[in-house]
Subunit: 220 residues, 2 copies
């Protein structure tokens, strides 16, 4: 009888130990926050404020930074369901409308990512002194890319994403000042002066988010 109790206790502990190991999670569908992007090979260093709605597949990004030693400022509204992207300039009261033929990529840990390590950023010795995070690694077969992602254990919030391919080199994205929810739902409406702007130009198609950020215009 004692052996049976011991065995069942061991099995129970083994099962809960298995359950304790983190699994890839999905981040909250509504978020606002800030990002810094470092992309040395293209000499792109950007600092962005974003509003993110995974339910409506909408992203608004206000970016500023350096691209090949020239400063830039961008205000982009991406409506993935409508397959349209607006480049907004409040200064010039102008709006460029482009076709957006990119699939919406929610912020999440890929399902086939492997847990590399769970660590505490800072310390668990006192309140407010540390943050429990999980490091995930994996590969993207289509691009022969490798990624290294850090998400919080509680809330599944993105912290950093490091992406590497031979073609691109390293691209480091750091997230901070995240708030769950949308501060202003009108962020996803194009401003009024966009209504009068031209229709989507023929052949002017954006196929991914990075491409959108990298297509600098001289008027900015």
């Amino acid at each position: 009888m004692q052996h049976l109790i011991l065995l069942s206790l061991c099995l129970l502990l083994a099962a809960s130990a298995q359950a304790q190991k983190p699994h890839p999670c999905k981040s909250p569908p509504l978020m606002v926050g800030r990002i810094s992007v470092t992309y040395p090979k293209e000499a792109l260093f950007a600092y962005e404020r974003f509003t993110y709605d995974a339910l409506g597949q909408r992203v608004r990004v206000r970016a500023e930074g350096l691209y090949q030693n020239r400063s830039f400022h961008d205000d982009l509204l991406m409506l993935f369901r409508e397959e349209v992207m607006y480049e907004i300039s409040y200064r010039n009261h102008s709006c460029k409308k482009r076709a957006l033929k990119a699939p919406f990529q929610p912020i999440q840990i890929p399902r086939d990512a492997e847990l590399q390590a769970q660590v505490i950023v800072g310390s668990s010795s006192g309140p407010g002194q540390g943050l429990l995070v999980n490091n995930w690694i994996g590969e993207v077969p289509e691009t022969e890319g490798k990624y290294f992602m850090t998400f919080t254990e509680f809330g599944c919030l993105p912290i950093t994403s490091l992406y590497y391919t031979d073609k691109t080199g390293w691209i480091l994205t750091s997230f901070f000042d995240l708030v769950i929810g949308i501060e202003d739902p009108q962020e996803f409406f194009p401003p009024e002066f966009c209504a009068t702007s031209a229709a989507v130009e023929e052949g002017d198609v954006v196929t991914d988010f990075f491409q959108a950020l990298l297509r600098r215009d001289d008027d900015q």
Copy 2:
């Protein structure tokens, strides 16, 4: 009278706003934790466990990693007050004793560092989802180096240190799994087999911590 009350309220708020701005702080004198070091120019990638005693000016580091594509393992005991460093190998039961002519550098934000930004790593939307940190920048006139440091607001714990000189390129140090206090005070005693080892060799002087880590031996 009302004006006077309003004025004093404004002055009070201004004073507390001034006081709210973080100032360079000193980290706890006793810590254990882990570090990852990335030093691309020397092709050094190390992962270290350390025990740190700023009161006794003693550091024990167990490092493993890659140096110029060769793996290494180090066990170093640095006693800065005694000006001696032990290179310990439990496998070979051997000990190398070296003169350590480097000033002890406590983990701290330099006094003349400037606050770059206060940010939340993760989110403040839920408990356990974020960490309030301060980013500090500054220069080291002697080496013409620049540094970028992140420390927690609560507890003044190190998170990352990015150091740059034209000579060295970037050196990135990330701290994690920090615990305030010393788990085992005997970590600072050299093992018994060190007592029989040779005295400090003439001319075998270590002048800084990095030099100690970079002087790889073939027997390791």
